[in-house]
Symmetry: C2
Subunit: 402 residues, 2 copies
């Protein structure tokens, strides 16, 4: 005879997302206050800092600043070991040795579940360190200190981590809310123009899908963003982060156990383009292309008015994104046109599971889902991008000439 | 200026724990009904079966039975690939190649997050397969089909998985509730006497800590359990599993994010003894020793009355456990007596995090925590076990002689 016990488990995660400037200046209270949140450990919090090599190189004084900060706040924070510097960028997610290196450091430092791993870096480093921390001792507390626009306005405020494996992006990972997220605007000043720009696309994405007023605000700030105006960027990051946080907490299914979806407008093509360009395209750049493509597709299929398509493409161009990388243009002349990109639809379905679901838009703030993609219409959408890109280049050349 | 968004995320997990006999007999509805629980995928559930080599050897007809079952229920269940047989026992958790093998199989079968991994085996295999499933695509649905007493009455109904690394038990793992647990009593018949007995200790543990009436019921059933009475074992497993489930769901902190504790009476020494005997001692055998030791310690320290200590030791002896393995006896004559075991206290603290917390008892159903252990008193406790073991052997010899 069969019989059943039905087990129900409810878990609540709480974490602060803080904004500061000069996190490791001796008088900055942020980190000290975060470690004071818990009272389950006597004495100072034991912290292992793990630093993105790119950040380490761009901020030669960082390790000394961390030393100074911990010395000034010794009652609250103690270094569990010397900070560890790891490879930055997508390479850190592709190389299993980096994951092992972080696990090894956690082991060597004898961290316990009530200790802290503080990851300082771009989204890729936060992903691999987050995965290592989530799996060591079934979860060591993770403090994310994102240093790029992309990480501050989107990925670092969320509940995911991961590394690439078997040639698949984020094949390994978990849903694991951080203990805290600290956005220090001070890190953004040393970003390359390309990284500064790249992170803007996730803000544009959430504006397109969720908040037309935010979209208009980005349009108004576009020239300032290009000119690296710090105040404009901070406005963008705060609003984007808040919208991403709201999506996660209000969706009812933050770990995507059912059919809940991440905010993944434009992401199926983005994932594929990152891979097929061997990560020559940054994630944000690929997302910009993906959003342009799916907006064009929505227009070609009769869902999105010309005027709204124009606003999306114009804003992407205005902040400096390419709409059509050579790799996407080339797919038009493949033996089976577009197949190298369109295969990404099946990989995207497999990663998220269940039925293929692609988000399109009928207008700003009006997303909807489709479960099939017409390959010929997608080819015509790539052609739309080619024409838009040509027009943008011509306009730019005309401005320079005048 | 610092500013804060406080993010709150609530996640609810529901899973059934089912009891059946003959899971893969063609007319058994259990698996089909479980797969019918969700409606987010059209068509049959895609299932990858992963089988413990020990179970595979003991049940030569298993793979054919699975084929027959899936053929009979093709509308509900489909094999995503041929079943994969992996190394059984603790070796599967010690060898990173086994974890990789499961990830590879998930990749090769192109499983998505709405597919299923069904793990058939003992606790170690369920742990490594559970870890692989929890991390692939950030979590593929896991159906646990435990085949040992220990897994059916304790570990498989819970929310943990893990593998060993850096010489530490369960150094890597996650908290990840399964999609379903199916306890098939049919698998228990082929267990060795040692495995049959070994799993009883976790039932005795939860009885000691939570349910004196259950303890008395095990005392009454002891002779039947030794005689491998299936009905007595099923009673024990159902009540033990129910108590473990209640502990997880009612404790308010199932992922042990705060200071919540697992039901780990006797476990600090058990972990250390498993390691120091190179897993010659099975987990259940080591837990029996650990419970005997901490009961003796509670008595030596004046907390536990002689009469209650006697009942604990007598029941462990009655179902066939050794109270004092040679490795523990030897620690009395070390240069620093007991150090090879007592070092396990710090490792245990590190694994659970925070302050050292050891559960002791004042009586059956009366647990309490201490945060320090007196090494000399622990040495005297080992001597108590030595005397009890001698007395038990003498009594056994007298019974055989009479």
């Amino acid at each position: 005879m069969d019989s059943i016990s039905q087990q129900r488990i409810q878990v609540t995660f709480d974490y602060p997302v803080l904004f500061t400037d000069g996190l490791f200046q001796p008088d900055n209270p942020t980190l000290r206050q975060i470690l004071a949140r818990t009272t389950d450990v006597d004495g100072p919090g034991q912290v292992l800092f793990i630093i993105d090599s790119g950040v380490h190189d761009a901020h030669p004084g960082l390790a000394a600043a961390i030393d100074g900060y911990t010395a000034a706040h010794a009652a609250a924070v103690q270094l569990a070991a010397r900070p560890l510097v790891i490879t930055g960028g997508e390479a850190s997610k592709n190389d299993p040795a980096v994951l092992h290196q972080v696990h090894q450091a956690i082991h060597d430092a004898r961290l316990c579940r009530h200790s802290y791993v503080a990851a300082i870096g771009g989204g890729a480093v936060l992903d691999v360190v987050g995965y290592a921390a989530a799996t060591a001792h079934r979860g060591i507390r993770l403090i994310r200190i994102p240093t790029t626009v992309l990480a501050q306005d989107d990925s670092a405020v969320g509940v995911k981590n991961g590394v690439n494996a078997f040639g698949k992006k984020n094949f390994l990972g978990t849903f694991a809310p951080p203990f805290a997220v600290i956005n220090d605007v001070g890190f953004l000043a040393t970003l390359s123009d390309r990284d500064w720009r790249s992170g803007i696309s996730e803000a544009i994405k959430v504006a397109i899908v969720r908040d037309p007023a935010f979209f208009a605000a980005i349009e108004a700030d576009a020239a300032k963003l290009v000119a690296r105006d710090a105040a404009a960027m901070e406005r963008l990051i705060r609003r984007s982060a808040a919208l991403h946080l709201a999506h996660i907490s209000s969706g009812g299914d933050p770990f995507e156990l059912g059919s809940s979806r991440p905010l993944d407008f434009g992401h199926w093509a983005a994932h594929k383009l990152e891979q097929s360009t061997d990560y020559r395209l940054r994630h944000g750049e690929a997302v910009a292309v993906g959003m342009a493509l799916d907006s064009a597709y929505a227009h070609v299929q009769g869902f999105l008015p010309e005027r709204d398509l124009r606003r999306v493409l114009d804003l992407l161009v205005a902040v400096g994104f390419e709409l059509l990388p050579p790799e996407l243009a080339q797919t038009l002349s493949e033996p089976a046109p577009g197949s190298s990109v369109l295969d990404g639809l099946e990989e995207f379905r497999e990663h998220l599971g269940g039925t293929l679901t692609i988000m399109l838009i009928r207008g700003l703030g009006e997303p909807f889902d489709v479960h099939e993609i017409d390959r010929n219409a997608m080819m015509r959408s790539i052609e739309v991008l080619a024409r838009a890109q040509d027009a943008a280049r011509a306009a730019s050349a005309a401005r320079r000439a005048s």
